[in-house]
Amino acid sequence: MGGRPWTDAHGRIPSGGVPPVAGCPRGGRPGRLPVVIEVSDLTKRYGSTTAVDHLSFAVRPGYVTGFLGPNGAGKTTTLRTILGLDAPTGGTATVGGVPFRTHRRGLHHVGALLDAQQVHGGRTAAAHLAALARSNGIGPRRVDEVLGEVGLSEVARRRIGGFSLGMKQRLGIATALLGNPPVLMFDEPVNGMDPEGVLWVRHLFRRLATEGRTVFLSSHLMSEMENTADELVVIGQGRLIAAESVRGFAARSTRLRVVVRTPQAAEFAAVLTAAGAEVEPEGSAGVERLRVTGLAAERIGALAFDNRIMLHELTTQTASLEEAFMELTAGSVEYSTGGPR
C-alpha cells in the first residue's frame, strides 16, 4: 500500500490529484485561502498497530474544522503528529508549510489542548500557565488575561488537583490561547463541561475562527460538530472518510425517510415499490407501519390518494448527522477489516 494516494471513504482518489480540502464551502473559490494545516499521506504505526493509515487532508483558516471519528480512529495520533510530538512513520504533517517541530518555541504558532488531565495537580493554575508563558517569552500579564478569558480568575491561586474536568478543560484552553496563535487545535475540548461551558466554548471557537484563525477540534460526537464546526474531516480506522463542509456532509449523507401507517399496508407497499421506493414494513398485522425511503411525503400522499389507500399517519423523519456519521464510520470499519492490512 506504500505510496498509495489519498482516497476517500470509498477508496476513490479525489479528483484533481490534490489532497481533499475542508474549506471554502460558501461559494469561495478553492485555493484562495492558504492551507494552514496540511497532512499528506500520513502514516503512523506503533509496532504492528497502524494508528493512522495514509491520511491526507488540509485545514484552512477562518473556519472551525471538526475532526471526527469514533474512539480509536487515530484522531489524537494525528494531532500529536501535527504537533511534532510523534514522528510520522510515513508522510508529512505541516503547519503553515513547515513541520511544527522546526519552531524553537511553539505557543506563538499553534495553541493546543491535547488532554486536559495532563497537568501537575500540585501546581496552581497561575503557576502552571506562568511557567508555560515564560518558556515562550510571554509576560505574566497575558497569564491573567487568558485566565480571565476562560473564567478561571477566581481559582487562579488554587491547585489544579482540585479542579473538575470542566475547569481543567478551561485551563487547557487558556494554555492554547497564551501565545495568541493563528492556529488552534483542541482534542475533545468539551468533555466534562457543563452545558453553560459547552455554549461558551462554541462561541469561543466561532470567535477565534472569525478572527481569521485556524480552529481544528476533534470529537467522537457528531452532534457536537453539528453546532460548532463549518468544516469536517472524518476519519475511521486511521483513514480518511470525508473532508467537506458540514452542510455538504449532511446533504450527502442524510437520507429522508417517511413513515406511513395504514391498514392496507401490503397493498400500499406494492404501489410504493412500483413507484421506485424502498419499503420496509414494521409493526403488528392490521395497522402496519411502512418505512419508506426514496420518495418524498407529498408524492407518497398523492399515490395513496390515487390508489384509494387510507392513511393514518404520514411522517417525514430526518436522519440526524449523528446517524449519518455512524453509518459512514460503521462502513469504514467493515471496509477496513476486509481490506489489506
Binding site: V110, D115, A127, A130, P182, T210, G212
Partner: protein, 285 residues
C-alpha cells in the same frame, strides 16, 4: 450560519507579528517557576538538609562521648573530625534523595502527560532538558553548599568541646566541603538523565538507587581491575575527595587520585545529560 459572513481576509490574521526573541534564559525561568511552585520541593530540601546536618551532629556527638576512651595519639590527631564533618550515612542518604528528586523533575512530567504540553510549547526538546539540568544543578549546588557547610560547622562546634574540631583551613577540609556540596548536583543530574531515558517513576528511582548506591559494592578494591572499576563510581569518588591520605606507596591501586575523582564527578552527570538530550530528540513524546 450568517455568523461566518466575516471573511478571514477582513480581519487581521494574527500571523504577521513580532515574536518575542528565543532565549534560553526564558526556559531557565520557566523551569524555576515549575520547581518552586511545588510545595514538595521545599519540604524535600528541608528534610535532606536536616538529614545530613543531623547525621554529622550524631557522628560528632558519638566521638565527643567516646573521646575520653580514645588513645592519646588519636586524641592528639583527632582524624575523626573530618569524617564526622562528612558523614557517610548522611551523604549516602543525600545521594539517594538527590537522584530521586532529579528524576522526579522530568518523570513527573512524563507520568502526568504534562511533557506533551511542555513539548508543544517548546518544540526544542533538547533545550528543555538542558534548562531542567541547569536549574536542577544550580538549586542543588545552593542546597548542597548550605547543608555541607551546616554539617561541617555543627560537627566541629560539637567536637570543639573536646578541642578536637578543625577549621576549614585544615588540610583536606575545603576539598571535602566542595565534594560534599557538589554531590547533590552530580546525583540529581544522574537522576534527571535516567528519568529522561526511563520515563517511569518507580523504575527510574530504583535504577538510580541501584546505580549510585549498589553498583560500587560489586567491585571490591582487592584486584586491580575491580578497584579501577570501583573508582569510576560516584560514591568512591566522593569518599576519596573527603579523606586525607598520607603518602601512597607506588603501585598501590587501592586509592584513586584526587584528579581522577574530580573527573568521575564531572563525567557521570555530563554523560547522563548528553545521552538524555540525544534520546529526547529522537523519541516520540
Amino acid at each position: 450560519m450568517s455568523a461566518h459572513a466575516v471573511r478571514p481576509r477582513d480581519r487581521a490574521v494574527p500571523a504577521a507579528r513580532t515574536l518575542p526573541p528565543v532565549r534560553f534564559r526564558d526556559l531557565l525561568a520557566a523551569e524555576w517557576i515549575k520547581m518552586r511552585s511545588l510545595r514538595s520541593t521545599f519540604w524535600s530540601f528541608a528534610f535532606v538538609t536536616l538529614f545530613v546536618i543531623g547525621s554529622a551532629a550524631l557522628a560528632a556527638i558519638g566521638d565527643y562521648r567516646n573521646f575520653p576512651h580514645y588513645s592519646a595519639q588519636m586524641q592528639r590527631e583527632h582524624g575523626f573530625a573530618l569524617s564526622d564533618a562528612f558523614p557517610s550515612a548522611g551523604y549516602l542518604g543525600l545521594m539517594l534523595f538527590a537522584a530521586s528528586m532529579g528524576a522526579i523533575v522530568i518523570v513527573s512530567e512524563y507520568g502526568s502527560g504534562l511533557i506533551r504540553t511542555t513539548t508543544a510549547a517548546v518544540p526544542a526538546r533538547g533545550s528543555v532538558v538542558l534548562a531542567k539540568a541547569v536549574v536542577v544543578a544550580a538549586v542543588w549546588t545552593v542546597v548542597g553548599a548550605a547543608l555541607a557547610a551546616g554539617a561541617f560547622v555543627v560537627s566541629q562546634a560539637i567536637l570543639d568541646g573536646r578541642h578536637a574540631g578543625v577549621p576549614i583551613t585544615h588540610p583536606g577540609a575545603l576539598r571535602g566541603l566542595v565534594a560534599c556540596t557538589l554531590l547533590g548536583p552530580v546525583c540529581a543530574l544522574i537522576g534527571l538523565g535516567l528519568g529522561v531515558l526511563i520515563r517511569h517513576s518507580a523504575t527510574t528511582i530504583v535504577t538510580g538507587a541501584f546505580t549510585i548506591l549498589m553498583l560500587p559494592t560489586f567491585f571490591s578494591q582487592g584486584r586491580r581491575w575491580s578497584a579501577d572499576v570501583n573508582h569510576l563510581m560516584v560514591y568512591p569518588a566522593w569518599w576519596r575527595l573527603t579523606i586525607v591520605l598520607g603518602p601512597v606507596a607506588p603501585g598501590d591501586f587501592q586509592f584513586a587520585s584526587v584528579a581522577e575523582s574530580w573527573i568521575v564527578y564531572a563525567a557521570w552527570p555530563a554523560v547522563a545529560i548528553v545521552v538524555a538530550v540525544l534520546a529526547v530528540r529522537r523519541r516520540d513524546v
